[in-house]
Amino acid sequence: MPRFALSEVSFDPAPLRAVLLDERAGAFAAFEGWVRNHNDGRAVDGLRYEAYVELAEKEGERILAEACERFAIHEARCVHRIGDLAIGELAVWVGASAGHRDAAFTACRWIIDEVKSRVPIWKHERYVAGDAGWLHPSPPTD
C-alpha cells in the first residue's frame, strides 16, 4: 500500500488516521492544509491543483520513505488533492505515528515541508475579482 497518494475527489482523513493506529505508538501528529478564502491579501474564490501525476507519486513516496528512515516514527501517510477545490476543502493531509511526540511532530512537519517544496503539484487560484493565476514561487537564490 503506497504511503503517498493523489486524490481527484475530496477525502476523509479518518480512515488514513486509522491505518496508523499501532499498539506500540504513543503519539500521533497530523497536519492538514485547507483552502483559505484569501491569499497574499486577495479574496480567493476557489482553486485547482494540477500534478505531474507519475512523478508526483514517485517523489511523494520517496519523501514518506525518507521520513520513516530519518525519524523514530512507526508509519506515515500523505494524501494530496488534485482538481478543483472549494474554500474550506481539505487540500493535503499528513499523519505520522511514533513512540513519542517529538518524532511524531518533527516527521509530520518535515513531510509537509518536503511535499510543498519537492512534489510537482501546482496551485491555480481563482480570485473573487474575476482573474486567476498559477502560483510559481520564486526559488530561493542560493
Binding site: G33, Y49, E50, A51, Y52, E54, L55, A56, K58, E59, H80, A91, V92, I112, V115, K116, S117, R118, V119, P120, I121, W122, K123, H124, W134, L135, H136, P137, S138, P139
Partner: protein, 80 residues
C-alpha cells in the same frame, strides 16, 4: 535529430496552449531544448527556476535528449 515528447504543466501549459507535443530537436542537451521551446512558445519562466524530468524521473539539464523519451519541464511547485 532526436524525436521526443515534451509535457507542459501549469503556466507553461497555458503559455504553450497544449499539455504535450511531439517534436524533433537538434539541441545538444535539455537546457538547449528548453531554450528552443522558450522561443517557440514565449515562456516567461527562466531555466534557472525550472527542474527537468525525463520519463518520469528528475534529470540533469546537461543530459542529451533521448530518442522517444518524455521530457517534462517542472515550474516552481506550489502544492500543500
Amino acid at each position: 535529430m532526436t524525436r521526443l515528447t515534451v509535457r507542459y504543466f501549469a503556466s507553461l501549459r497555458d503559455a504553450a496552449g497544449l499539455g504535450e507535443e511531439s517534436l524533433q530537436t537538434t539541441a545538444p542537451d535539455l537546457r538547449g531544448l528548453y531554450a528552443e521551446l522558450q522561443v517557440r512558445h514565449g515562456f516567461a519562466l527562466p531555466v534557472a527556476h525550472l527542474r527537468v524530468a525525463v520519463n518520469g524521473d528528475f534529470a540533469r539539464w546537461d543530459e542529451a535528449p533521448r530518442e522517444d523519451s518524455e521530457v517534462a519541464f517542472i515550474p516552481p511547485v506550489s502544492g500543500g
